[in-house]
């Protein structure tokens, strides 16, 4: 199945031709700006008041120091990036700082997890720890529980109360974990250090999708990056590797004019190729156990590589398909059989996918619409930049076939299913490493970058600040650095607005968190918990022990309930009887913000009427009240 690449040796310049590395002390002066950026950023944190946000999200409360801090960091990165062949460690420092400053910004201010989903994931993990078994009848999560099982092991080994202890730092941790495979991946795509580091910077500066919290998606994305990096590094055919390939592969290579990469491969032993395949299978298997979508992304990507003759492990897609089928048949069958009609209905329905992913998502308050349109602009802008970069690279004769193949493969997902209207977001996330690569390529001066370019830069690029008075060559390169800096800054600014545009909604103030703690201290297992909309920090314990009810779900029926009818049905469902403890109604700020910000049903007028009736009802008693949350207990009778 695997043919080990042969006959490729690393290409190294003679020692006398290698760029002289400036003394470390000389390079240390490039740390002044990053240190200033960190100082500015840290000093701005106390001035960020999440409670004062409007529907633009976090940007509405960011002090000027935060913006200046990101601008200074970008400027400093560009200054080092111009000499990327000599300053790898400095560029690494900049990327690490960007990860911490950008992705952990909310956590440093709130010290609490953001968004309701991590609370739910904590509850699933708690269920597994408490019961020691998997009950696939609870919900779909339990048909793909791999991530939660690993998390359960970590929670118990660490001796922490629950997974929320890790949720605050999960975003920065996942993004730090993505960095090594990204380094390997970009090393397999180009020899130009500026293109490598430029792509990595763009990746982090344009990752606005916010799918890197404590979740199976973020977990399996690490495996996605690692698998692709390993395949491109070790199993891209070189020389005679494809001599035994089938006619189809040879034809597709000829049709697409695929050429062998000219990136030097690391030295290998006779164990390397089988070892890489075994490793890929292990990582893929865990992805299959953990996430519904990611196994398909990896399968499509690897199959695309094999079909275009860019992966010598030609049996790998078949093996992956078998693993996927086994999981679906023997483990996830209860979910699949219960949703088969829905899945088949969505399969191949591109118009429905377009409606669910684009049209139906454009709505909400005036300020939130600005955020949505900016997200579309950012996404389209990056893809357009990548397209320009791709055209430039291919016109320049560079062998970027693997990057193009992997960048386009996720698009196959679009017709697979709507994925709750999130498929386009996920596709952006899966394409991002390769879109970032081509976008960075669009910003490089054409003749200096490329797989065939020398690994050292022209001698005109001496350390120092950009100069516009030296010859025309230097002026050209400086302008490319200025362009890169400007585009990088625009992407970063756009990313902050897009990524944290829902923060007013996703931020749970201490009052809300205290209210849910009160709820779980008083609600007995078996009782029913009712809300207006299921958008609050709950379900983090007793996941399967309570029944849940929402006003929103009643409005999705054929004959929507009026506020009085909704309260009547809730009153009936929460009524204490033998074996069924009294239930609670929980009203929180976030549920109200959801209606204000995103609109939809129930409307604000509907909620006002519902709450008025609830307050006046003799069947309910207010047992918890704070500025951001109220809890009503259903009385007997």
């Amino acid at each position: 199945m695997v043919s080990a690449p042969t006959g490729v040796q690393p290409t190294l310049l003679p020692a006398k031709d290698r760029p002289r590395r400036p003394p470390i002390l000389e390079q240390m002066r490039f740390l002044v700006l990053p240190i200033a950026a960190v100082a500015l950023w840290a000093s701005s944190l106390p001035g960020i008041h999440f409670g004062a946000m409007n529907d633009l999200g976090l940007v509405s409360v960011l002090p000027w120091q935060t913006w200046v801090a990101f601008a200074v960091l970008t400027l400093s990165f560009v200054l080092c990036w111009r000499r990327a062949d000599r300053m790898a460690w400095l560029l690494l420092v900049h990327v690490l700082l960007l990860i911490v400053m950008l992705y952990e910004l909310p956590a440093f201010v709130t010290h609490e997890p953001i968004g309701p989903i991590v609370f739910r994931h904590t509850g699933i993990t708690e269920n597994l720890i408490r019961t020691g078994a998997v009950n696939t009848r609870i919900d779909a999560y339990f048909s793909w529980p791999g991530f939660f099982m690993g998390l359960a092991a970590l929670v118990k080994l660490a001796g922490v109360p629950n997974a929320l202890s890790f949720a605050i730092w999960a975003t920065v941790a996942f993004n730090l974990l993505y960095l090594p495979p990204l380094l390997l991946l970009t090393r397999a795509l180009t020899r130009d250090p500026r293109l490598r580091w430029g792509a990595i910077w763009v990746f982090y500066a344009a990752n606005w999708i916010n799918q890197d919290y404590l979740a199976p998606q973020a977990f399996t994305y690490l495996f996605y990056l690692t698998i692709l990096a390993l395949l491109l590094t070790y199993l891209q055919p070189r020389g005679t590797d494809l001599s035994g390939a089938g006619r189809l592969v040879r034809r597709s290579r000829a049709l697409l004019r695929v050429r062998d990469p000219d990136i030097p491969m690391p030295a290998v032993s006779r164990w390397t190729a089988p070892g890489i395949v075994a490793l890929v299978i292990i990582l893929y298997t865990v992805s299959v156990t953990s996430h519904q979508l990611m196994p398909f992304v990896i399968l499509f990507s690897v199959a695309a590589l094999v079909a275009t003759g860019q992966c010598s492990a030609r049996g790998l897609p078949l093996l992956m398909a078998v693993i996927l089928a086994v999981w679906f048949i023997f483990v996830a069958h209860s979910y699949i059989s219960g949703h088969i009609a829905q899945l088949l209905e969505q399969f191949g329905n591109v118009s429905q996918a377009a409606s669910a992913n684009v049209t139906s998502r454009i709505g909400g308050s005036a300020l939130h619409l600005i955020v949505i349109r900016e997200r579309l602009l950012l996404t389209g802008g990056l893809w357009l930049l990548a397209l320009v970069g791709g055209i430039r690279r291919f016109r320049g004769g560079y062998a970027d076939y693997a990057a193009a193949t992997l960048g386009l493969a996720p698009l196959l997902l679009f017709g697979l299913q709507a994925y709750g209207g999130e498929m386009l977001l996920r596709i952006y996330f899966f394409m991002l490493p390769f879109a970032a690569f081509f976008a960075a390529a669009a910003l490089l001066p054409g003749r200096v970058s490329g797989t065939a370019a020398p690994s050292r830069l022209p001698t005109a690029h001496r350390p120092g600040f950009p100069s516009l008075r030296v010859g025309s060559g230097t002026l050209r390169v400086d302008l490319s650095a200025v362009t890169f800096g400007l585009i990088a800054a625009i992407l970063l600014g756009g990313c902050i607005l897009a990524r944290y545009g829902n923060e007013r909604l996703d931020y749970f103030p201490p009052d809300e968190l205290a209210a849910t703690r009160f709820l779980y201290e008083h609600a007995q297992p078996g009782s029913t918990l009712a809300v207006e909309r299921q958008y609050l920090p709950w379900k983090y314990r007793g996941y399967e022990q309570y029944q849940y009810l929402s006003v929103e779900s009643m409005l999705g029926e054929k004959h929507p309930a009026s506020p009085a009818q909704a309260l009547g049905r809730i009153s009936q469902a929460l009524r204490p009887t033998a074996g069924h403890p009294a239930g609670f109604v929980i009203l929180t700020r976030s549920q109200r913000v959801y209606a204000e910000m995103l609109g939809g049903v129930p409307s604000q007028n509907y909620l006002n009427e519902f709450e008025r009736l609830l307050r006046g009802s003799p069947k309910f008693r207010l047992v918890y009240s704070s500025p951001d949350a109220q809890i009503y207990l259903r009385l007997p009778g």
Binding site: P10, L128, G132, A133, V134, P145, G146, F147, M149, G150, A152, A153, L154, K156, L157, A158, G159, V160, S165, F166, L177, P180, P181, L183, L184, R187, F219, L222, F223, T226, A229, L230, T233, Y234, P266, A267, V268, S269, R270, W271, T272, G275, I276, A278, L279, I282, L283, T285, V286, T289, S290
Partner: protein, 116 residues
Amino acid sequence: MHSRLLWPAVVLISGDALLIVMATGAGGLWRAVFALWFVLICPGASLVSVLGLRDRLTELVVIAPLSLALVTLTSSGLFYGHVWSLKNEFVLLLGLCTGGLIWSYFVPRGDLKGDS
């Protein structure tokens, strides 16, 4: 330090540290830090030499994903076997690390010598 010695040393020290912290019943931040380090590094580091990678960057890339994957697979096996517990999980992971180190030791040295 060559990876033949580096990774076994890392695994042994990390495993012992977590074992001591857990055996003494100590909780809090240190146990969380040791556990996170163990879960992220040890299973992968104990087996990475077996793969015959001769590139330090690739080894560093592989260790954390492989560790997380092995922790997930062992935990899944115990859950589906209805025998999951902290003790069983930890013993299985320690056994995996030990087995990986022994396997690495017996891989012929000639196959492990690399150029980078």
